[in-house]
């Protein structure tokens, strides 16, 4: 028989008290697991949603001039001397430290073309990455394939120029067929005629050059500002900007939720610890005589502390395991309500078995259980054996 056996026997004997401590700790731990799992699941969900929002980093040539347009409205038709970036420089983006977070790089060349007696903006782009950079685009027809000199016309451009799918457009002495018409997006894209990058470079006589590049960065686990710095370092001639409104707005909301969740977790965990403290204190008082006997027959104060802390530790381990499993189950149920209100919607957000979270739940239960039991254990260990025996 050892001190652990005594602790175990006492737990079995005082089942209701042990159960009370177990329930208190389990609720505390499971609440923390629920909040952390929810935040993580929602973060992952938002991150994957953010990826669907397309490009979030813009690379433009450095210029000393200020923009003269606002909300798509150009003032005074001022034309600045536009600098360009060499297309091959973009390959360096794949070499930055966070290159694994780069989902797509979309070079774009902009230039004015004459169609009949009207001027229009022609944009050369890589249609291979269009679904990553412009996932919201919907169009009638099909995108021009590589090597094909086709046009994707913005809705407003098509209306003004009287374009339709299959119609031939003549620009700068070249004839291109309209292969698709873009549905209204509410953005500048509505005003533009899109074609393959190589076609635009050829029409505009700017082979190998681009006006800007868009980058779709996966934001999970990588601060976008950091990526901007890394790209700026390798492209010193370019101005690299994060399209922060989308990312930061959502991240800020999530951070508020995260803070509130952690605050609530701390409160619930504290209540759990208080339950343990009060119950263990009661248990120690009930066992005054028993502790007196132990001390009288030669148990050291440290032995008494060990017995009480072993009891708390055993219950805490069980509470950690139960708390994690219960928390995981509760998270799955909670997500059904969080993610869109319908039962089906919650199925879209996975709650993976996270060994780190399981370990953290176990550690949290142990820390809470042992910390809350430390004072009662100290009281028990410091009990005067003679006084304790008098209670018999």
């Amino acid at each position: 028989m050892n001190l652990g056996d005594i602790a175990l026997r006492n737990l079995r004997r005082r089942k209701s008290k042990a159960a009370f401590v177990l329930i208190g700790l389990t609720i505390g731990v499971s609440a923390v697991v629920v909040f952390v799992s929810l935040v993580e699941a929602l973060t992952q969900n938002i991150n994957s949603k953010l990826e669907e929002y397309g490009a979030n980093i813009l690379i433009v040539p450095k210029t000393e001039n200020l923009s003269m347009s606002y909300g798509g409205l150009s003032l005074g038709g001022v034309l600045f001397d536009m600098k360009e970036i060499h297309e091959e420089e973009l390959a360096k983006i794949r070499e930055i430290e966070n290159s694994q977070n780069v989902a797509a790089v979309g070079p774009m060349l902009l230039g004015a073309v004459e169609i009949g007696n009207r001027k229009a903006l022609l944009a050369g782009m890589d249609f291979k990455v269009v679904y990553q950079l412009r996932p919201w685009w919907k169009f009638e027809g099909r995108l021009p394939e590589k090597g094909e000199e086709g046009i994707l016309a913005g809705a407003e451009a098509a209306r003004v120029l009287g374009l339709g799918v299959g119609k031939i457009v003549a620009m700068n002495g070249r004839k291109l067929m309209v292969s698709a018409i873009l549905e209204t997006t509410g953005s500048q894209d509505d005003q533009i005629l899109f074609t393959q990058l190589a076609t635009a470079q050829s029409i505009l006589h700017k082979e190998g050059r681009i006006s800007l590049a868009e980058v779709a960065a996966l934001c999970a686990g990588c601060p976008i500002e950091e990526m901007v710095k890394q790209i700026s370092a390798i492209l010193p001639g370019a101005n690299v900007m994060a399209i922060k409104q989308v990312v930061e707005g959502r991240m800020e909301t999530l951070n508020h939720f995260r803070k509130a969740s952690y605050g609530l977790s701390a409160i619930v965990a504290l209540v759990g610890a208080l339950v343990v403290l009060v119950t263990m204190m009661g248990s120690v008082r009930e066992r005054t005589a028993e502790i007196g006997i132990f001390r009288a027959i030669g148990f050291r104060s440290s032995h008494i502390m060990k017995i009480i802390l072993l009891e708390a530790g055993l219950v805490s381990v069980l509470a950690g395991v139960l708390g994690y499993l219960l928390g995981l189950g509760a998270t799955k149920i909670a997500l059904l309500f969080f993610a869109g209100g319908s039962a089906h919607a919650g199925h879209g957000i996975a709650v993976p078995l996270d060994p780190w979270l399981a370990g953290a739940a176990l550690a949290l239960a142990l820390v809470l259980g042992l910390a809350a039991s430390f004072y009662p254990a100290r009281v028990a260990a410091r009990m005067d054996p003679c006084e304790a025996l008098r209670t018999l």
């Binding site: 028989m1 050892n2 001190l3 056996d5 005594i6 026997r9 006492n10 079995r12 004997r13 005589a289 028993e290 006997i293 132990f294 001390r295 009288a296 027959i297 030669g298 148990f299 050291r300 104060s301 440290s302 032995h303 054996p385 003679c386 025996l389 018999l392």
Partner: protein, 223 residues
């Protein structure tokens, strides 16, 4: 074999006008191997004296020596070790732990000691055999008689072979026949060289002692 020396020992509870002198200026020398009975009326201070001799209750004044060790000069943990290694304590109400079997109760003083479980169990079996409870080690204290509980408490007190046994009214809750059995057992242990100090108000029990000390109002009246 241990020599006990109590030197000008006084124990006071409370202070000021509420102060109570439980024992006053007690001097006792007990050579090793003696069986001593301490007698006195209720409230005479005999149990207080025993708890002081049991290293459980610090005296207000005076010294308590065992084999040249100033027991109350030891720190708390060292005094716990002293109790475990040098003293066996038999309480009036047995004080067995109800949720442990008789064998486990007997093994309790060995619990904090490093050693093989098998050896500890063998020591407990020997102690149980010595008090005639070898067949009842598996039972819980509530499943055996009062006399058997007292014998189990004695087995617990002698399991680690301490040189001194302190007994507080060891037969206080027992009938005449069982009292005799327990006293015969204590006499046997004393014959084997164990020093025994017993508090009792039973004259029959006191007859087993080689010396009887009488206390009244905390004062040692004489032998």
């Amino acid at each position: 074999m241990s020599t006990i020396r109590v030197d000008s020992l006084t124990k006071q509870y409370g202070s000021g006008e509420a102060a109570v002198l439980a024992v006053r200026d007690i001097n006792i020398d007990i050579p090793s191997g003696e069986l001593i009975a301490i007698m006195g009326e209720s409230g005479s201070g005999k149990s207080t004296l025993l708890t002081v001799m049991g290293a459980l209750n610090s005296p207000s004044r005076g010294k308590y020596w065992v084999d040249g060790i100033d027991v109350y000069a030891l720190g708390q943990e060292a005094r716990a070790d002293f109790r475990r290694n040098t003293l066996g304590f038999v309480f009036q109400s047995f004080h067995l732990i109800p949720y442990l079997t008789v064998r486990e109760n007997v093994m309790l003083p060995l619990t904090p000691v490093k050693g093989k479980e098998k050896d500890k169990r063998a020591m407990a079996e020997r102690a149980l055999g010595r008090v005639g409870l070898a067949a009842k080690g598996h039972r819980l204290p509530g499943q055996i008689s009062g006399g058997e509980q007292e014998r189990a408490a004695i087995a617990r007190a002698l399991v680690n072979k301490p040189p001194i046994l302190l007994a507080d009214e060891p037969t206080g809750n027992l009938d005449t026949k069982t009292t005799r059995e327990v006293m015969d057992l204590l006499k046997d242990l004393n014959s084997d060289g164990m020093t025994i100090v017993m508090v009792t108000h039973n004259h029959e029990c006191a007859r087993y002692a080689g010396r009887v000390l009488r206390l009244s109002d905390g004062l040692l009246l004489g032998e």
